[in-house]
Symmetry: C3
Subunit: 322 residues, 3 copies
């Protein structure tokens, strides 16, 4: 059984990441050159995708990745109203939850060979969200490998893609990577930012995270990074600028109103001619200015395109162990 | 043309069930051992699945079954608001219905080789529901074989699975089978219970149905069974306990408030060490107590897993006659 | 790059339609006889279908067409609330739109080989709708061929099907074709009617369009047709009667209340024993009387069935140029 739930799934028994990370990044890069290199590997294997929240990019790229490997894919949408899962033990289920995750995961697991699960945070209750009960329940009860398609707190498929993208742009170099908070009008999860911090931390790159005071991410994910509240300082000499909004972790779910954090050409000029990354979707001129997004240094489309090959590398590594 | 709409689709011209039932149960059991035994049979054939109501288990197991046979599957969700079908003849369609089932079924039939249809009851008007106008309309107008994915009144794919599960647990024996009503907080269809009664009735097993006074099912389906209002009596010496809630048939759609009907370990102790079955989803500790569901005698997960192979056997029997 | 957005995609460099139209109609007719003639052509190719509005017929027929050609298909539903796309340049996206079409189209394009897009009009603002910003945005930014699955103003897959149907019924003849407005209770798009007028106009057939005063379509699409307000006159000697409701173009989006425009047997008797066509869904006895729809001259089911083969011909022509 090998799940793909967090960066830790890429560590060696000794706790080292270098070898496995290098290997999966090389695999993803190879698939980008030849997507059909293993087109029979997934024959007779079914990937089930369960979305408790909307998905377009992750859905499409993961389906395409599985089909490149010859897998069958069954994609299901559900929502927490229509098919609310109970995750607590021992409760009398006479309220809103219609099925316990024990049964739901075991049954889904019996029809598929690999399951992908997306389940966003409610952004109301930090302790609840950060327990990741849905995805952990699937891991516990599905009986088959589970892939995290973005949980309440992490989005490792995105982070693997991000590392792949960085490595393809500036290979074999120790880089100055800056992740900056940027404005938004809705409360967004911390998942992409948490994972990016965590994944950069297992590389040799130097990570600086900039956000307004009070918008620091959880230490659990940012350990090893330099944390600052001065965006200009963080941009100084950066090789990569990774832009993302997140709602507050400490004042949980609060939307930050800091329009001056928008990423502009002026700020990009402070960098070492950095590449601009964003996981998309991006609200233009709120998060990042048009001229930055439309510049030669913006790699957001290539980055999104790489999602397919990162997912394919993950699926391949699971398939060979089935 | 061979539809799979009710148990009667398994009867011989002489009205006997034994041979066809034995044959399809053996086929399903074989597929469980070797799901890909007929993986080219469905080449160039398309199964269309139309869901007027939500489905996860039925959707997933039926798609998987079809893919095991090499079929293409196209799954469509609709809902009675968004694409309400008219089933009455001669009406001026200037109200809520946007398409007549005559056209809807014929068109869907022209793109597919087999159609599966799910359409739940409204639980407001018994006469309306028990006419099963949607699924009968598809049978009448689609021009291709139709599979019942749970109609207003029956769920034969579930019942075939149930017989397959029973036969695998206690083969070649005449069994004491008990189906018991259990508590729930929502008005649920009678379909699973109706079908289970009907299907057990064409076997040699002895069926007892227990429900609170006023919650008797329609005679149309329970003919041949022993009907009691005493749950303990029904559990006595049972080999199989099949648990299911249903709303009232006679006081149509009424939810029963009888918490004492919850299935507990104490009640299971009255049985002949019976296996516990439920079609899922099940609300834990409302319908069945945790310790019963988590006991070695609970086969609910295996039962759900068998859905795949029962559907595959049904599809195979239709495919060979196309 | 060859898109399928409007009839103009079938014109020669010299502006002539005859040859390409003849060729694609012959191809569609051939696929109707042998749907699997090119079943390996689409190997390793993925068709992405993006529906901003509901679809059953178009979805099903296009998926089936692609599968006949051996393509993979990924179908996505979205809606303008859940994933509203920004189409304006330079706007600060701090309101309802979550992603700019620049990124959305480019990303979708990177995962697929061909994209189909459905995006209906709002029917509130004619200028807005008739700019077709969504489908034009996909054409501009997707980087791969785009197929119109019904835009705000046109539905060319339907029109190609309509010509195919007419040609199969009355081959090699110059026909009198009548398109008539008919009653409805909801505001419907002009797309099907616009396209039908436009496509008949590039054939040798003679087109008469009848509608109540004030319900004339845009000249842009009806150029070349005879426009009348007298339905009986339009039916006189017609070989084909094409029935369709549309909301007002000039009093934009207004629903017309003219019950006397219902198509009846009496009116059909004025024709030259005409075939009756409608793109479906049709509200019986509001739009067309039962006895007309159920007569031998009604070809609405065959017409809908032809959607599969028209789409297949379009996909084939795109695939051979990939």
């Amino acid at each position: 059984m090998n799940h793909f739930i967090s960066v830790e799934d890429l560590s060696d028994p000794s706790g080292e990441y270098e070898e496995k990370l290098k290997s999966i990044l090389a695999l993803a890069a190879n698939y980008k050159q030849n997507p059909f290199a293993d087109e029979s590997l997934g024959k007779r294997k079914t990937l089930g995708l369960i979305f408790f929240n909307p998905s377009l990019r992750t859905r499409l790229s993961t389906i395409k990745a599985a089909q490149n490997l010859g897998m069958q894919v069954i994609s299901m949408n559900t929502n927490q109203d229509g098919w609310a899962l109970e995750t607590a033990d021992g409760v009398v289920m006479d309220q809103g939850t219609a099925e316990h995750i024990k049964e739901a995961a075991a049954v889904m697991g019996s029809y598929c060979d690999i399951l992908g699960v997306r389940s966003f945070p409610g952004l109301k209750d930090m302790a609840e969200d950060y327990q990741n009960k849905v995805i952990n329940g699937f891991v516990k009860y599905a009986g088959i490998p589970v892939i995290n398609l973005e949980s309440a707190t992490t989005h490792p498929l995105q982070s693997l893609t991000d590392l792949m993208t960085i490595e393809s742009l500036l290979p074999n170099r120790k880089l100055k990577v800056t992740m900056t908070w940027a404005p938004h009008v809705k409360a967004l999860p911390q998942a992409v930012a948490n994972s990016f911090a965590q994944w950069i931390n297992v590389t040799d790159h130097e990570l600086t995270i900039a956000q307004p005071d009070g918008y620091e991410l959880s230490d659990e994910f940012t350990a090893g990074a330099k944390i600052v509240n001065d965006q200009d300082k963080a941009f100084k000499d950066a090789d990569i600028v990774y832009v993302k909004n997140w709602s507050s972790f400490h004042d949980y779910g609060k939307v930050g109103d800091f329009p001056e954090w928008k990423v502009t050409a002026e700020k990009m000029n402070l960098t070492n001619d950095a590449f601009l990354m964003h996981c998309l979707p991006v609200r233009r001129n709120l998060v990042i200015a048009d001229d930055v997004l439309d510049s030669d240094k913006s790699v957001v489309i290539e980055q999104a395109g790489n999602r397919e090959f990162a997912a394919q590398a993950v699926l391949k590594n699971i398939l060979v162990n089935l």
